[in-house]
Amino acid sequence: MKRTFQLVYILLAAAILGTGCLGDLGIKPQDRISQQGAFNNVTALNIGVLGVYAGINYGATQYITTLLTDEATMPRENNTGRGVIPWRWQYDPGTSAEPAAAWGAYYDVIDRANRVLAVIDQVPATGEDLITRNRLKAELLAIRAFSHLELLSYYSVDYEPASPGVPVMTESKLSKPPRDVVSKVYQQINADLVAAKGLFPANYTVTNRQRIDPLVVTAIQARASLLQKNFDAAITFATEVITARPLASAAAFPNIWTDLSTAEVIWKLKRDNGEERLGVNYRDNTGRIIWAPSFKLMESFDPVNDIRFANYFKNLGTTDVPRWTAIKFVGGQAALVNLADAKLFRTAEMYLIRAEANARKATPDVAAGAADLNALRAARITGYTNETFPTAAALLDAVLLERFKELAFESARYVDARRNNRQINRGPKDVALAQGAVDLTQDDREYWLPIPQAEVFANEHIAQHPKWLQ
């Protein structure tokens, strides 16, 4: 009997010990938080919105534009292999990361924005908080519109309203969306931008330009309108921005690139140590030049009188053995070389949008377009004398050349070619290592960025660009 009791005690002790430990199974993560109920006040919402900003990857569009166009040439010292396959137009939808980067980056941003937008209206807010909540919502809508605009610019089949565009995402969900037609993407971009504008407080301005304010929305509208060939709207929006934020003076211009000045900057993404370094694709941190500015680009400048030349390019070698490098994104801190803020919108682009719209609208206004082009050149070139243009076509050519120069390495050249149905032609001095990649025409599949293969595998509803199916 005694032993039986002993046994019972032991069993009881084991049971108590056991149940005592069982409570510990509800371990919660410490490095992460559950998405459920993550945003329950306006402060938390702001943290969510900052996460959306953090996702915008300027380098993705900047780098593929540089690689696919005539902006850059391959120096012999690029022994890293980085970007060589896209630059030689030898890429396909599956093997190279660079053509796919913007697709992933901007859909991530849209998804992040949609996750916050899904709950933002339920976050209790009154008074100041309500104003802040509305502003945050406006920022999210504007980012969503901007991201759709970028995706459409790079990955749609073309920009005609009835053509296949890119999927429009207005909520975060598991789905396999097909391409929406271009006009539907335009509609969503325009609607988001209009809605955003209405939610900002009156006269709201972000002085450090690192977040979106109403003027940024107008600038996005200007760019979006030009893509939609809505030239009058483009002129109106561009004018609004130009009036509010004039071009940088010749003295302030260099400081834009060192981030000491926000002159003519409409929106830029702040870049801190540990984040993307936009200069590394041109010259890496070991000092090796990866992608050099093309001779075609450099030779289009007046190297003496054009202040852009010295701010964009530098010869690290000698006159006999030159080593030209692009310094636009080297940044202003010697200790943090290649770390520079991503300038997404500048006033110069607004001048060029207005000039292009004036040249391309149904009844071209060559004089007005020329005036904008001359105004921009006068701001950049010492002793510049105004140029006149005989035809709208001549003006358009000059505007596109000016965009090539002014917006070099700022994610413009590739979309410029597609918008205006132009070939990509590299200069004779730039193709020594190109293995024949000299001219890229609209008949070549590599002219058209494909839907990344991973997307095609995952999403059977999305149609690859027809050029890639031939």
Partner: protein
């Protein structure tokens, strides 16, 4: 009938009536069969009782035993012998060290079972096989030792863990590594560099459901159970060991260009100095042809062999050990100290380890137990950017550096940072820059590991005892990385003045189990049943800081960091995280044997885990096993003359694959946000997409096998057939990127591993003084994905997971040779039509015709001979029928990287129409294609060991030594393979300038006092 037995059992348990018989006095001496030296500490028990004694220091014993009894002589490491007493009063016997016998008992984490009553498939590796191998991690020593265990090294860096897979990979996304148990507590996998394998008594590898179900949600990949050495009662035994040696590289076969080939290549392709100063170049910057010839001549004299600069010819090795053991019947101890120092063959790499272990066993009337404590500390120095195509990877730089690149001018290293001071150089300084980085940086990991555990047993009744095991496995990594501020590498750091990084990574695992065991051996019935509750808790945390602006006066210490401010660019980077898991389990273990003939093993386990959502949190695992000792049957009586063992076994059960031990593995079911920042302010971003249906991967395994021993155990054969099906397999469902994620883990697929394990060993020749023995183990495993849920396949870069194919299948565009007319590569499209290079499209042309990187045939064999005190043993291992992606060729024969040194393959490139060759012209872009998928099958002569034991007669005269052994060995002697890269053996599918395994020679001396 059954009722009667149960009743008898209960009666026996309650009554505990001891058998009374006439005892007689017996004495004798136990000696070593080898050399005849006395064996102190041998346990002698009277079979069927707990009575017994232990031999004294002269190997002598005395006890009283019944005349109808049998004495059992057992000694760890030696074969157990039984002798019927009969009318003898003196019984002198000798015991042999036969590692085959070690398997007589099998030790699982929850108890010990006689092998003949165990129905599972288990293989044992004796500590004798592990103790002298000059490798820092014991998983390397398992290579070629166990049928069905495939252990491969991914790096020759001393201290790197192997990839260990038992009976093929059963998971795509989860871990495929087995569970490790040491002295009853869970041991973190892959962290063995600080454990001294010489302390291991046995390593048991459990492969089938009998054992794996017992470990439930952690067991599906097999279980490796380590038991450490124990002290033996008797006189104090002091042992000492020392060994010295060196390592060298195995295949100094660098099929890259030498200086003449390089200059010729440049001249022909019209680039580089070979063209610049060529007499054929009319546009040369040097118009004087004589000067050009002089320049080329002086370049020819350089002819740098970069492999000689980055690799050591004689990387030193040494190991020293002292161990002490002893005790009496009530308290025994074993303690050891070990120092291990191994230089790697690459400049700067190496490992130094200090390890300590102390095991104490105690035994009272009813109370017994053990306390085991081990602490190890190791310092590991690594190379730069291993396993990458980066030019600063030592093993890539050894390929990339040009032969006309001279690293030193007048003793000064000329790199990209100072080349202009020397008037410039003709090359890109790829070798010198890598060398500069190697010399001005450190990459140090200091590891501290401690395992502490306690086993207690209390005999409540004669047949019932309570037991508990509690223990902690603790591991800490202290990582440091210094970049010299006054170097070219330091000038590339943030802040341009070097950096110092310090990181801590901690792991803590508590295992506690508490149970009751009932056992009864009466008449022909042998029962054992245990109920156990177990709780396992893990915690892990890590932190890292990187500071900049190093004060050169204070190198390699955080004290040298300059605090950052808004202008100096020295703002430090900080990071880290923490997570944990918990597992609670109820375990039932049962065994019943009838007459030593029929055995039934049962296991049931209910696991609750924090790693799955609450709805799937608790799950049952179970197994049933049956065994039949055929030889015990009456009709086999005649066969016993020749056969010693004939046993059939079968088992079936369910276990699960554990999740990867990281914060994604721990909380993979949850949709979460993780922290980020923008413009200096805190933000959050979606981190995991979550899956509320998240569940374990269940593995069901059927195992059927037999064991045969014949001719007095001269021939031993084990054979197992198994079929392991993993269901509920995690499949990374590919997501449209519009969801914000690329994949979501869902339980959808099935994968099957089916195959055989064969283990054959025996003595070919056995005479009084001479034994020739051999053994072989072999595994054939057929791995196949049988189901992927909603899809049939998904691509993973150059691999594919497809229903009907094995895991790890290559998926790439098939190469169709060089077009003799154009010199361009051609490829096959999926219809088998040849298309030109310009139409290459990996997404529409890739095919899966090139096999897998998981070898279906693996195994090893050994051959040994013993003559008196001299023993020679050779071990071979092999893996056959698999292919790997040789990414080294992609860089070494690629026009895009022609500024780096290139392979000699270029010498046979296409030059003019009509040339028939497999190397295209240099204007043909290189793409990923099947040319890079190469057969990596290999046969490796892994170890040769020769040892000599001084004869006992000589030792007895010294009165000091009980054993003196000298030995020499060689490790990784020869590899037969058609693989073109550094090393066919690797832990993954792709070869990317990895650190190859070294060849090591050592000589050692072992003394026992």
């Amino acid at each position: 009938m059954i009722m009667k037995q149960v009743l008898a059992l209960w009666l026996a348990m309650m009554a505990c009536i001891p058998a009374i018989a006439q005892d007689r006095s017996i004495s004798g001496r136990v000696t070593d069969v080898l050399g005849g030296s006395p064996l102190p500490g041998v346990t002698i028990t009277i079979k069927g009782t707990s009575r017994g004694t232990v031999t004294n220091s002269s190997g002598e014993y005395q006890l009283k035993a019944p005349a109808n009894g049998t004495l059992v002589f057992s000694f760890v490491g030696y074969s157990t012998r039984e002798v019927a007493i009969g009318n003898q009063s003196t019984i002198n016997i000798s015991l042999g060290t036969d590692e085959k016998q070690l398997g007589e008992y099998v030790v699982s984490g929850y108890g010990t079972t006689q092998r003949s009553k165990y129905t599972g498939s288990v293989a044992s590796v004796s500590g004798e096989k592990l103790k002298d191998v000059p490798a820092a991690t014991f998983d390397q020593m398992l290579q070629g030792r166990v049928a069905g265990l495939y252990s491969t090294s991914g790096s020759g860096q001393p201290g790197t863990a192997n990839r260990v897979v038992i009976r093929g990979p059963g998971s795509i996304s989860g871990t495929t590594a087995p569970l490790y148990i040491i002295d009853g507590i869970a041991l973190e996998g892959g962290e063995f560099a600080t454990l001294n394998a010489a302390d291991f008594e046995t390593v048991n590898v459990y492969k089938d459901a009998t054992a794996t179900a017992l470990y439930g949600s952690r067991g599906a990949n097999g279980v490796i159970v380590i038991t450490t050495r124990r002290g033996k009662a008797g006189k104090l035994r002091l042992g000492a060991k020392t060994q010295y040696g060196w390592s060298q590289r195995t295949r100094p076969k660098f099929d890259i260009m030498n200086i003449d080939q390089r200059l010729q290549f440049e001249e022909e392709e019209e680039f580089g100095v070979g063209w610049e100063f060529s007499p054929k170049n009319d546009a040369s910057s040097e118009p004087d042809k004589t000067k050009r010839a002089q320049i080329l001549d002086s370049l020819r004299n350089i002819n740098t062999d970069w492999s000689r600069i980055f690799l050591r010819d004689h990387a030193k090795f040494q190991e020293h050990e002292v161990n002490l053991s002893g005790g009496n019947e009530n308290i025994r101890f074993y303690t050891s100290l070990n120092y291990f120092n191994q230089e790697g063959i690459a400049l700067r790499s190496g490992l130094t380890r200090y390890s300590f272990r102390s095991n104490v066993d105690f035994k009272g009337d009813r109370f017994s137990g053990a306390v085991n404590a081990a602490v190890g500390y190791s310092e590991i120095s690594g190379i730069e950017n291993e396993n990458s195509s980066s030019v600063v990877n030592t093993f890539a730089a050894a390929y990339y550096g040009l032969p006309y690149e001279a690293p030193y001018i007048n003793g000064v290293l000329v790199h990209s940072g100072n080349a202009s001071q020397f008037g410039g150089v003709y090359d890109l300084r790829e070798g010198s820059d890598a060398l500069e980085r190697t010399l001005n940086t450190t990459n140090q990991t200091n590891k501290l590991k401690g395992t502490l555990n306690m086993n207690l047993r209390y005999d409540l009744l004669k047949n019932l005892y309570a037991r508990t095991t509690m223990g902690v496995d603790y591991r800490q990594h202290d990582l440091s990385r210094y970049i010299n501020p006054n170097s070219y590498t330091g000038s590339q750091a943030t802040g341009r003045q070097g950096s110092y990084q310090q990181g801590f990574d901690k792991y803590w695992q508590f295992t506690g189990n508490y149970g009751l065991t009932f056992h009864e051996n009466k008449d022909k019935h042998d029962y054992e049943a245990s109920l156990i509750y177990e709780f396992i808790r893990t915690k892990s945390s890590n932190s890292t800081m990187t500071g900049y602006g190093i004060n050169g006066l204070f190198p390699e210490t955080p004290a040298g960091i300059t605090p950052g401010n808004t202008t100096n660019g020295f703002i430090p980077v900080l990071g880290g995280g923490k997570f944990g898991t918990a597992l609670a389990s109820f375990i039932f273990m049962g065994r019943y044997s009838y007459d030593d003939r029929y055995t039934l093993n049962l296991a049931f386990r209910r696991d609750g885990s924090s790693t799955v959502p609450e709805k799937n949190r608790w799950h049952n695992f179970w197994s049933v096993g049956g065994g039949w000792n055929v030889l015990k049957e009456d009709f086999m009586f005649d066969a016993t003359e020749k056969l010693d063992v004939l046993r059939l076994r079968a088992s079936y059960g369910v276990s699960a694959t554990p999740f990867a031990f990281n914060s994604t593995g721990a909380f993979g079911y949850m949709a979460t946000y993780s922290p980020t920042r923008y413009a200096g302010a805190a933000g959050v971003v979606p981190a995991t997409i979550g899956n509320p249906e998240y569940d374990w991967e269940y593995s069901k395994q059927l195992n059927i096998g037999f064991d045969v021993s014949a001719f007095r155990k001269r021939v031993n054969l084990s054979f197992d057939w198994y079929n392991r099906v993993t269901d509920n397999l995690f499949v990374d469902e590919q997501l449209s990127r519009t969801t914000g994620f690329t994949v979501r883990r869902i339980n959808a697929g099935s994968v099957r591993n089916r195959g055989i394990d064969v283990d054959l060993s025996g003595d070919i020749l056995r005479t009084r003084n001479f034994t020739l023995y051999a053994g072989a183990n072999f595994n054939y495993n057929k791995n196949e994905v049988t189901n992927l849920g909603a899809v049939n396949e998904f691509e993973q870069g150059t691999s594919i997971i497809r229903v009907g194919l094995p895991l790890g299948s290559h998926y790439i565009v098939k190469w169709a040779g060089v077009d003799p007319e154009t010199g361009r590569s051609q490829y096959y499209d999926r219809e088998g039509k040849i298309v030109p290079n310009a139409q290459y499209n990996s997404s529409t042309m890739s095919v899966a015709e090139f096999g897998t990187f998981n070898p279906p045939f693996t195994g090893g064999f050994h051959l040994g001979a013993r003559w008196k005190g001299l023993t020679v043993e050779a071990l071979f291992s092999f893996a056959q029928g698999f292919k790997r992606f040789n990414n080294e060729d992609f860089f070494n024969v690629n026009p895009s990287f022609a500024t780096s040194n290139q392979g000699t393959d270029w010498l046979r490139r296409w030059r003019k129409p009509g040339d028939i060759t497999d190397i295209p012209s240099t204007s043909d872009p290189r793409r990923f294609n099947s040319k890079d998928i190469q057969d990596a099958s290999y046969l490796r002569f892994r170890n040769l060991n020769m040892s000599y034991d001084l004869p006992a007669s000589l030792l007895e005269r010294t009165r000091v030594f009980s054993k003196v052994q000298v030995y020499v060995q060689a490790q990784n002697i020869l590899t037969i393979t058609s693989w073109k890269g550094f090393d066919p053996e690797d832990n993954n599918n792709i070869s990317l300038f990895e650190y190859p395994a070294a060849r090591t020679f050592t000589a050692g001396l072992r003394l026992n006092f």
